[in-house]
Point group: C2
Chain length 551, copies 2
């Protein structure tokens, strides 16, 4: 007879940062935690974004009781517009998170049919054999929560993204008392955020940034332009507070920053003192040292408001000598060069630029090693699963768990798709769910496969040569000379002779039309000979695309 | 009557890191300082490397008296194999630097005709109206120098890449006494390294790394694998010292590490105690805790020895549980993801991995703010030109100069190609030399232009659609249906219907062969219509390449 078994199945977020999605399954009941997207690396040209493969969920569609979202960041909510129409189940989250989800769903016309259920931290909801309770955590967005999940096998705690921060700007601090209570009663399994498990010590409080911003607003000789993520609402709050203190008026610039601030203010998560916000028409009446801009562009994104302020498109909003620009964010891995180019351009324009290398203008939202150990110590789980992070982060987190007394064999470093089966006294990986990356490119979701991506990478490296061969449809023999067109391979003028030679080589290989031309021969042998010729001549390997036209 | 004028013309290395080249010109005499290469960014697909445009030098070929190379790093010597055959002038450098130059020249078959002249630090050489003296500087490679250049207009000091380090591992410390002497006598212009002008304080001594390596060799339970740049010879020395101290045998793995170490040892810059080096055949007789590997791969390069050790290609050399891997280098900007992936793979293989985020296993070779200020204070130049660095680094360095009393108007932040004219009492930018990036791709130098690169980027983003139209060469009318072949655009099976529709659309636009087909019409109008159709259907913009075959 099988004992009560809780299954934990990560469909995203392990072995990589982003695209978070966790499945918890008990007999015929499933709850899903988070549904995030990931942005593609440089090795995935043309891809807009990546979402988790939900085929495991689609097969068990009728068992899914709901999706819980821990907070409103893209790597936790971004896949909802794509998967919710397929699953059609209720979404549970706190007020601000629901507000941000609504915006995303609306953009993709998926809001009308969505069932969004707003919960308060501390509130419980029973779904099948699960009961789920939200607890407040402190993160770089307000209204973030972790989950306490009651199951017949025992209690599971899911940390969500969290840090400690005893002096948070707005929103509540992480609710350690509630967790401590559970730790005393016994927790079966803890799943906890590993993003910063590499870093010793504590993550500094958001307050540190507040102090820097205060000094900047007091001392900057001209305008202050603060750029950050639009979802970093507590950062926006600190900018507004410091601006108001020194009588500076605040201009919120750019669509995503405007949208997010508006929702946050409407829902009570952003407190803007009367008379602080200004409309763009008021700009030319204000002296520079009474002006603050808040905008996106901290990643050097070409379409961001900051980068557009660097071009002279807009006469009023361009960067000028005497401006102080604060890059209040870290570059997302892979964006370093773009951010550096933006900083260089700002310096060239005569702005003073403050960024994390030179001033404490950003702290991140995840706990460092001491915070992670504190959580492990409070919750005292029997089993431990490090989540959110690349492999090295999970490894470090596992080591931290061992250092605070969790037996090594009770910690499980999972990969996406691993099915972890937990009973009150056992835990093991048993089976694998189908997982993977679903690419969103333009209008389509999931049609871009590895072949298309491989081709794009190959095209990028050495370009393409199209070989056009016209054959007589009666005799099958070559008509005239083969035709060669190339793009991205060589300078077609300078290398005309070499390209002509390659044309002659093809004609010769095809016996100059003496015998019928076979497609298989062209597609393998001719392609091969041409490839070798080009490599010898140029040390490049363009994609060779033969086309045979029968006329 | 025109006064004595020294011209300083950067042909590379300003506004970017790497590809250093500086020209000094006095009447009919020219000396060149450094001739480096740069590795391409992700936005330059298929390019192997980038060297400076030397058209300015080619025009004045007969005036060039020599090229001085400050040290043996790629960003200072790497362009020599490409430009030396064109200029055919003597190259002056210290012994180790010449050794490394010889290797590079030999690889490109440019050694036989080269005139390499070895100098000692302190030695002077007179060339036309210039007299040049080398002075020792401490950098992350031994035998590095800066230059003191006597000209009729005054003395110029060129720092080269340098840091302070009072406790260097091998090689000499930076020769501040000689510089102080000149500072007292009066220096017209200082050109100084700005690479780390962002960082406050002092750069730590190489000794810090030595202490970490010592502890690792003592405590590691199994084999130790240290990966670093092959040119970081002092690092290799420290690994050898620590290994020898604890009776570990050292295996040098990989071609570039083996070559560089061999030259350094031959020339007396690497001291390997008797019996320390081991041959690979000895590996299976040694217990793991008596084994050290030194190898490349610190940048996660797919062809490096470390990354090959991660695959199971080589049974003896693969990474195994219990290994300690030391990544003794920082990721070059842009390489972060590749390095992180390598670290993850090492953790997965059960290795312990030490890298700069978690342990002090690397220090860099450039001075931080306090060191730069010290040099400025000693040399006391009349004019100051920050060199080596992106725009923000140059800006910070200029600010440091101001803080130690060099008037703001006497500091010149140049761009590549700016011609700076200096007389004993004036300094100004007057004119611009032709500069730019010359791309090396495979066998060819300089044939890849912006069109080829633009095409590669476009191909990478959304792929290509080739439209083949056969027309009767007599009537000019369409024969049969147009043919469409795509790569990297959509999944050709799933999107067959859409591609067929686009074919029909083209046929329709061409009046289904009722009228003769004009090439101009195809190349503009048909291309345009097809582009719009694809964008509507997919929100992608593939390159559209029409080919017309006349038969």
């Amino acid at each position: 007879m099988s004992k009560a078994k809780l299954k934990v199945i990560p469909l995203g977020g392990l072995g990589e940062i982003g695209k978070n999605m966790m499945v918890m399954e008990y007999e015929d009941d499933i709850i899903v935690i988070d549904a995030g997207l990931m942005f593609p690396g440089e090795d995935m040209p043309g891809i807009d974004l990546i979402i988790p493969d939900i085929s495991y969920l689609l097969e068990k569609r009728n068992n899914i009781r709901g999706i819980f979202i821990t907070h409103g960041h893209e790597d936790h909510i971004g896949a909802l517009p794509y998967i919710l129409p397929q699953l059609n189940v209720p979404v549970y989250a706190t007020k601000l998170t629901q507000g941000l989800i609504s915006v995303r769903l609306k953009e993709r016309k998926a809001l009308a049919s969505a069932q969004l259920k707003t919960l308060l931290p501390g509130e419980q909801v029973a779904l099948g054999k699960f009961k789920v309770e939200l607890f407040s955590v402190c993160h770089s967005i307000p209204d973030a929560v972790g989950l306490i999940i009651y199951t017949p096998a025992g209690v599971a705690v899911y940390s969500g993204d969290f840090k400690l921060d005893y002096t948070p700007v707005n929103g509540r601090a992480t609710d350690f008392s509630r967790l401590a209570q559970f730790g005393m009663q016994g927790v079966l399994v803890l799943l906890s955020d590993s993003t910063y498990a590499e870093l010793p010590g504590y993550t500094p409080s958001e307050k540190v940034v507040g102090e820097t911003l205060d000094r900047i607003m007091a001392e900057a000789p001209g305008r202050v332009i603060v750029t950050t993520f639009s979802s970093l609402i507590s950062r926006v709050q600190q900018v507004i507070n410091a601006a108001a203190k020194y009588g500076r008026r605040v201009f919120i610039v750019g669509r995503s920053m405007t949208d997010t601030s508006r929702i946050a203010a409407e829902l009570g998560y952003l407190n803007i003192p009367e008379g602080t916000l200004a409309r763009i028409e008021e700009l030319h009446d204000l002296p520079p040292d009474k002006v603050v801009f808040i905008t996106t562009g901290s990643q050097g994104e070409p379409t961001s408001a900051l980068v557009r302020m660097l071009s002279h498109d807009n006469r009023q909003l361009h960067i000028m000598r005497g401006d102080t620009v604060v890059i209040s964010a870290s570059p997302v891995p892979g964006n370093e060069s773009l951010v550096n180019k933006t900083i260089d351009a700002l310096f060239k324009r005569g702005a003073q630029v403050l960024y994390n290398t030179v001033a404490p203008v950003h702290v991140h939202g995840h706990g460092s090693q001491e915070e992670l150990k504190l959580l492990l110590n409070l919750v005292k789980p029997k089993f431990f699963v490090p989540i959110h992070g690349e492999y090295r982060h999970l490894s470090f987190h596992a080591r931290l768990a061992e250092s605070v007394g969790i037996p090594k064999d009770n910690t499980f470093i999972l990969e996406d798709g691993d099915i972890l089966e937990i009973t009150p006294d056992s835990c093991k990986v048993d089976g694998k769910a189908s997982v993977g990356d679903v690419y969103v490119d333009g209008l389509s979701v999931g049609d871009i496969g590895s072949v298309v991506l491989h081709n794009r990478r190959m095209l990028a490296r050495d370009g393409i040569v199209v070989l056009v061969i016209a054959v007589d449809k009666e005799t099958g023999k070559l008509i005239g000379q083969p035709d060669i067109v190339s793009r991205g391979f060589v300078d077609t003028k300078e290398s005309k002779e070499m390209l002509d030679q390659s044309c002659a080589l093809v004609a010769e290989t095809l016996d100059n039309g003496q015998r019928p031309v076979e497609w298989d021969f062209v597609n393998t042998k001719v392609k091969d000979i041409l490839g070798k010729f080009y490599y010898e001549q140029t040390r490049r390997r363009p994609m060779i695309l033969p086309v045979m036209v029968k006329v």
